[in-house]
């Protein structure tokens, strides 16, 4: 095994655990590189094509390195009717990137997610898992500013 991924050994190498393995790597590295896929293929004894199949099937898996701050805009039903499209528009204008992209400095990446389950605070977004609710244009831009200042 490539030593970078030595931590995989905490997971039992049965086939049923491959999603768990991929999740662990993504949690540690932020994304799944080709080496990560090859390592999983060896470790869980699953053909490379099948690993690729699993990775492309689930929307959680990212093949591109995300920014330091992952901005996830919730597009669940409640958020959508309360203005997700507008929020995406504001963020994408402010950061100069579209849904699914990472900015040139690698600071921010933008994605939409199905539902964060905080529907009563709609519209919401999360930055690296921290949830912000009841958004309007001002508060949305303030959140971005806060993380940009942190650098």
């Amino acid at each position: 095994m490539i030593s970078t991924f030595a931590y995989l050994e905490e997971i039992h190498p049965e086939k049923g655990n491959i999603i768990k393995g991929l999740q662990l790597i993504q949690q540690k590295e932020g994304y799944l590189s080709q080496e990560a896929l090859d390592t999983c293929s060896d470790y869980f004894s699953v053909p490379p094509a099948e690993v690729e199949g699993v990775v492309t099937f689930y929307s959680q898996f990212k093949r591109v390195k995300p920014g330091k701050y992952r901005v996830s805009v919730c597009d669940g039903t409640a958020c959508h009717i309360k203005g997700t499209p507008l929020i995406l528009d504001w963020i994408s204008t402010a950061l100069g990137i579209d849904d699914g992209e990472t900015d040139a400095d690698g600071l921010f990446s933008l994605e939409t997610v199905a539902c964060l389950g905080c529907c009563s605070l709609a519209p919401v977004l999360s930055v690296n898992g921290e949830i912000f609710g009841n958004l309007n244009r001002k508060s949305t831009l303030k959140i971005l500013k806060k993380f940009r200042r942190q650098g």
Partner: protein, 579 residues
Amino acid sequence: MQIKEIRVGVSSCGLAAGAQAVVDKLKQKTDVTVLGVGCIGHCYAEPLVEVVTADTAVLYGNVSDKDKDIDAVLSLAEEKRLDVRPARSEKENLKITGIIGKFEPTDIDAYMSFGGFEGLKKALAMPASDVVTEVKDSFLRGRGGGGFPTGVKWSLLANKEADEKVLICNADEGDPGAFMDRSLMESLPYQVLEGMLIAAHATAASKIFIYCRAEYPLAIKNVKIAIETIKARGLNVINGKGLDVQVKEGAGAFVCGEETALIHSLEGKRGMPRFRPPYPTDSGYLGLPSMISNVETFANVPIIIREGAAAYAAVGTEGGRGTKLFALAGDVKYPGLVEVPMGVTLAEIIYGIGGAEPGSVKAVQTGGPSGGCIPARLFDTPVDYDSLNSLGAIMGSGGLIVIGNNRCMVETARYFLDFTHRESCGKCTFCRVGAKRMFEALERITGGEGTAKDVTFLEEMGKKVKAGSLCGLGATAPNPVLATLRYFKEEFDAHVVDRQCPAMECAALSDVAIHKENCTECGLCIKNCAVNAISDDYIVDNRICTRCNSCIEACPQNTISRIPGGSGFSSSADSKEVG
């Protein structure tokens, strides 16, 4: 009055509203025990704080970590008090969630002090077949949306002869706009596990999986702690056998809520559904007999066993016994988690509990992307499985999204198809291609380029996709469109015939205008416009404007609004980069 204990709601929505800072500040300021408890349900007033004294409990809402708020709470002041409105308290029946918010969710001793694990104790003293009969007699039906009689499912698994049998808790709450299962796992993890342990005894299962979506980190954390604790206490030992209990995280695929797809995902494969039969109770996880039920279904079980099937079944309607959790959100004043007996009407939930003004909303979406909308004129419908089905909607897992008058129903239908066509696993042609073609037709209509032919196409293709899809995702994907066509046909006609969006939400069918009479020329709109579409003399160039509503939000005079139009709208990137 002496304060005995202070409880702060620290489930996901509480934390998002800043509850952790409130806990920290309270701990600084007082020596009284401060507990981080589960979801209190009044999500509209997060962060919530409950102050318990010797003889009463006072609820405070919208508490910030500012000294003023914290002092008000600690001095039991009148301000910031949250009175549960009678419209809500009279209708609610907190059978399942009654103890939420009274203790720290992962504290097993506290759970036990509220009657926790009594159901399990009682069940273990009964023969397995009696437990199955008890669940059958409660008439509990699957709370995930299918509504299959739970007791019947249990007997199918119980009657299987096998060395290993598997119980799976479906916690892949992928339905956007629903958060009942998240709340239960975050706030009552032991109750969910207790239900599963009772089921394991009744069906002689040897392995338990909880398949939870990865977007719920707090739910996963609390359930994992709960599993470790029950293992440490030996509560997972059923009839002398130690049960293997594990959490598996989903990886973001809506279709994995379908039971055969979920099993494939557990096995480490692409989560694609397969043909049934064989049903999972015959051949499920790795070919073993398996039973899959929803989180809320399992959470009901300890209550049924504890109070007896007869008492449980006395609540609700013929077609739906017991209570149901609803995640109430959208255009209501008081969104939140609601538990009501089956048979309560939509009006009682939306106007009464939700506090929406009658006349201000036009529909409610039930069952998320698999369900349909129900127009306001039918809000007197009692909520149970059969009554909602007859309206072309479904009960689903319990998401209720209220849609206000200012929303476009066609755009809402487009949104759902956007979701389902992307979530299609691709196995069945009608779902893979048909749903995409339906989505494209809806894009044309909301984009101002639709024709009457598109509307007819939606109707025809919707029926075909329903008939030609193997699993529930495809078979229900057209529901939001078909229901909208059934009740809001006039909105479709307005888009394709009159080229107007009645709600003026669709960008391609509306313009932005500044109404000069009230304008103070303060300049905020110009400053807030990201694309410089507003001139120095306050005229919006609608060819440049992206309809982002920034100016409408920024205007202190409320003098900017959408008007019918849209002929100059261009969504292409070139026009967005102007300026």
